[in-house]
């Protein structure tokens, strides 16, 4: 710590570059666990802090990042009909994923720093997770300038206007995605954006995602999917077109394991999203007019299709925008799963319902908590009276 001591003082209160203090502070606390002592309150503090919590989420995203990178390359070569080895797939994937991350962190980081400097607050690590998430929920074909706009929208309107990390109502990463969905729908919906192609696509390759195929199935829906190469196991592993990080349910589950074991992600939410999805899928199955309807798609197909698993594990569990009470988490998660399957099956305009279901429930999370809190008050009141 000594060598930069003299320079450091220029940035402290009263120094020449006082306004830039948050930058120095961010760098220092990033690299060092500083010997800041407790004062007032407890004399010792848990070694756990928000920085570590955020890091765990990023680590849990690694499997999806790695698989997603590989899959982008794999789909590229598959669509062109060129045989390619694993290394080539990864390298091709990196040429797509690295620019997306560079743009996301440059733009998002700049906003984050700007707001911290204006407020004179410490730069906090919240954008770490948002920034790691955003490229993974984008199609590989997204234009970089649109991504930059989306990140700006997500960070500024989704988070900073509410007061920064911890204060936002909606999940900022999903706000970014929703922005694109409504502002540039051609870039993030339809059948053609989910694979990066070299221009020519061989006949044997299906550009549409399984969910897109489900809009107008020809014959039995499972057979229809399988006919296009999407059997359950392939969808589970994730070698299919889609948003970069969402395709592999296996990679997502590996992340879920990390989140649940470390206690960082709420298992209550994850489990109840799946439970809600299963309940709605079973209900739809019961009322399906024919096997050739999206309503007939069984629950386990819903789980591995599109962003269901990714949303349940990484988006719905965001502690800031989710319900905060334990009882509320069950309701919140269940309704997300239920709404997702409902949108997928009953609304042909939107083949995927995960993003909107989570944003919708983000909005209702405070109401759910309010109800749980009132019930707690009533129970406590009765106990005191008795």
């Amino acid at each position: 710590m000594k060598p930069h001591g003299k320079m450091r003082s220029a940035f402290e209160k009263g120094g020449r570059f006082e306004r830039l203090w948050p930058l120095v502070d961010a760098a220092e606390t990033f690299f060092f666990r500083l010997p800041v002592r407790t004062a007032g309150g407890t004399h010792i503090r848990d070694a756990y802090d928000l920085k570590r919590m955020m890091m765990i989420v990023v680590v849990a995203l690694f499997p999806s990042m790695i698989f997603g990178t590989y899959n982008v390359g794999y789909q590229f070569y598959a669509s062109a009909g060129i045989p390619a080895d694993h290394l080539a797939c990864v390298l091709k994937g990196l040429t797509v994923v690295i620019p997306l991350y560079v743009v996301t962190f440059a733009v998002g980081g700049a906003w984050e720093v700007l707001f911290a400097l204006i407020r004179g607050e410490e730069i906090n690590e919240g954008f770490f997770v948002t920034g790691a998430l955003i490229p993974l929920i984008m199609p590989p074909t997204i234009p970089l300038w649109q991504l930059a706009l989306a990140v700006s929208f997500g960070v500024v309107l989704g988070k900073e206007l509410f007061g920064g990390t911890g204060m936002n109502i909606f999940n900022p990463a999903l706000v970014s995605r929703a922005f694109l969905f409504f502002a540039y729908p051609k870039s993030i919906s339809g059948a053609d954006v989910w694979t990066l192609t070299g221009g020519t696509v061989v006949d044997a390759y299906t550009m549409a995602t399984p969910l897109h195929l489900g809009i107008e199935p020809k014959g039995d829906i499972i057979a229809h999917l399988a006919g296009n190469g999407f059997d359950f196991w392939r969808m589970l592993w994730g070698l299919e077109p889609g948003s970069i990080g969402e395709t592999s349910a296996i990679a997502v589950l590996a992340g879920a394991f990390i989140l649940v074991v470390t206690g960082v992600g709420s298992w209550r939410i994850i489990v109840s999203v799946f439970a809600g999805g299963a309940a709605m899928a079973l209900l739809c199955n019961a009322f399906a007019p024919s096997p050739a309807s999206m309503l007939a798609l069984p629950a386990h197909y819903h789980f591995v299709a599109g962003g269901f698993a990714f949303g349940a594990v990484f988006m719905a569990t965001d502690p800031v925008s989710a319900a905060g009470t334990n009882a509320g988490k069950y309701v919140y998660g269940f309704l997300i799963g239920l709404l997702t399957v409902m949108v997928r099956t009953l609304n042909p305009a939107y083949p995927e319902g995960m993003m909107l279901a989570i944003l919708f429930m983000n909005l209702f999370a405070p109401l759910i908590d309010y109800t749980v809190v009132r019930l707690n008050m009533r129970r406590r009141g009765r106990r005191a009276a008795g």
Binding site: R45, D46, G166
Partner: protein
């Protein structure tokens, strides 16, 4: 007799527990008392520097209730009446003469301890300065001598980190304890609840105590907190529903006064902590100078001396004095070194409630925890951690939010009457946003107290 098995909570794995041996400490050259130990009292000093005092000489009294006084635990000379900001009384320090004369004004206590003699007993306890050993719920203030408590709780267990051995405190004082219990029973129309550790096998030193309703609690900290006991045994019904509580040491002091007829402030305290030179139990005086019995290990160039435990105690420095209600002095190393990329380490050697540290797989390991804050202060994030650390039907994060909003009605409905800062101290320890939860709760309780006193 009832058993309560609590699951929520956490035992911090801290190194430096006091050995289960009891020594007599050298008689302290000075004793000191802090008004901060008497929450709810507004002190008006009754002595000046240089004045001679004896055991039981009033040092200050409460401005509102004149009978509530704090007295000297030793005979000697007032060395200093220390004042802090806005001339608020900070401490009274007495240089002892070792003679331990009792003040002439002290009368022997009533011989018969029946409820018919209640007023007389309270008067006697107030006069010798033993009455502040009672604290009161709601709010955790020093008890009000004019109130009649629905019940009295005696907390005979302590689950806080490195807590003193309650059995050692009781040892050789069993008769005094029983006599004290009988005195307590005369002060309430209700019951005296004795709450002890359930996992002591058949050898509980409190098994033979009479005239009480015995409750056994098991579980991690804060299962030993009186707030938790009250919540499960006889929950607070409202602002006017008053309960008193007392520690084992307090009951012994009261019993001793009723047996010997003269006040004595001799107590048993533990010296513990990773930076303590010799962790052990000592017999000394309430308010004794730490220098007479607690010393930091030479291995730690900077150490913090805490009267009480690491969660709720006060940093009083090596020149400080044992707090009025405390039976523990904890000495911990001060944080001194930076750790490169500390938040990234797998965490073999760091204590944490979070399973994101490998150390969580080592339940038997003990850690020499220092005073590092371990992170920067951040906004509240609903991580669900608080909820796992409070074994009560209370939603801590929503209670705290109602306090931040200053909404008294909500605070009451969400359970502020049932908790004091010590009950949420563990949440503060584990909070990843490093928020000052105890401070917040204290502010909320201050506000409640102000409102209720205004309507009195």
């Amino acid at each position: 007799m009832a058993n309560y098995r609590l699951k929520k909570g956490y035992d911090i794995r801290m190194a430096g527990g006091a050995e289960a041996i009891l020594e007599r400490a050298p008689f302290p050259e000075s004793v000191g008392l802090y008004p901060a130990d008497f929450y709810g009292m507004t002190p008006k000093p009754l002595v000046e520097g240089g004045e001679r005092v004896r055991i039981g000489t009033p040092l200050w009294r409460d401005k509102r209730r004149e009978s509530l006084i704090v007295t000297s635990p030793a005979s000697g000379t007032v060395a200093e009446v220390r004042r802090g900001e806005r001339r608020a009384l900070e401490s009274v320090i007495i240089r002892t003469d070792g003679k331990q004369h009792v003040a002439a004004s002290i009368a022997p206590p009533p011989k018969r301890v029946f409820s018919s003699a209640r007023a007389e007993i309270i008067g006697a306890l107030c006069a010798v300065g033993l009455f502040p050993l009672f604290r009161q719920r709601p709010f955790g203030t020093v008890a009000d001598p004019l109130a009649t408590p629905r019940a009295i709780f005696v907390t005979a267990m302590d689950t806080a980190p490195l807590a003193a051995d309650q059995g050692l405190i009781l040892k050789n004082h069993e008769q005094e304890f029983q006599r004290g219990i009988d005195v307590l029973a005369s002060l309430t129309p209700g019951r005296v609840h004795l709450c002890t550790e359930a996992n002591t096998g058949d050898g509980s030193p409190f098994a033979g105590v009479q005239n009480v309703e015995h409750h056994r609690f098991s579980g991690p900290h804060p299962a030993g907190n009186v707030g938790v006991h009250i919540h499960h045994v006889a929950p607070i019904r409202g602002v006017g529903d008053i309960l008193w509580h007392c520690t084992v040491q307090g009951v012994i002091l009261i019993g001793r006064y009723f047996i010997t007829g003269a006040p004595s402030f001799e107590v048993t305290a533990a010296v513990a902590g990773p930076a303590a030179a010799r962790g052990r139990h000592v017999a000394t005086l309430s308010g004794a100078a730490l220098s007479s019995f607690a010393e930091a290990s030479k291995a730690f160039p900077a150490a913090r001396f805490i009267s009480g435990n690491v969660l709720t105690g006060r940093n009083i420095g090596p020149g400080g004095f044992l707090g009025f209600h405390d039976n523990l002095v904890t000495i911990i190393p001060e944080a001194r070194t930076s750790v490169f990329l500390g938040w990234l380490s797998p965490g073999f050697s760091l204590e944490s409630f979070s399973a994101s540290f490998i150390s969580r797989l080592m339940p038997r390991r003990r850690f020499a925890i220092d005073s590092n804050r371990n992170g920067s202060v951040r906004a509240f994030v609903a991580t669900g951690i608080y909820e796992r650390l409070l074994p009560m039907d209370i939603l801590p994060s929503f209670l705290l939010k109602s306090i931040l909003a200053g909404d008294i009605e909500e605070m009451e409905k969400l359970g502020i009457l049932e908790v004091t800062p010590e009950d949420l101290a563990l949440c503060e320890y584990a909070c990843p946003s490093k928020t000052d939860i105890q401070r917040m709760l204290r502010d909320g309780i201050d506000l409640m107290l102000k409102e209720t006193r205004e309507t009195e």
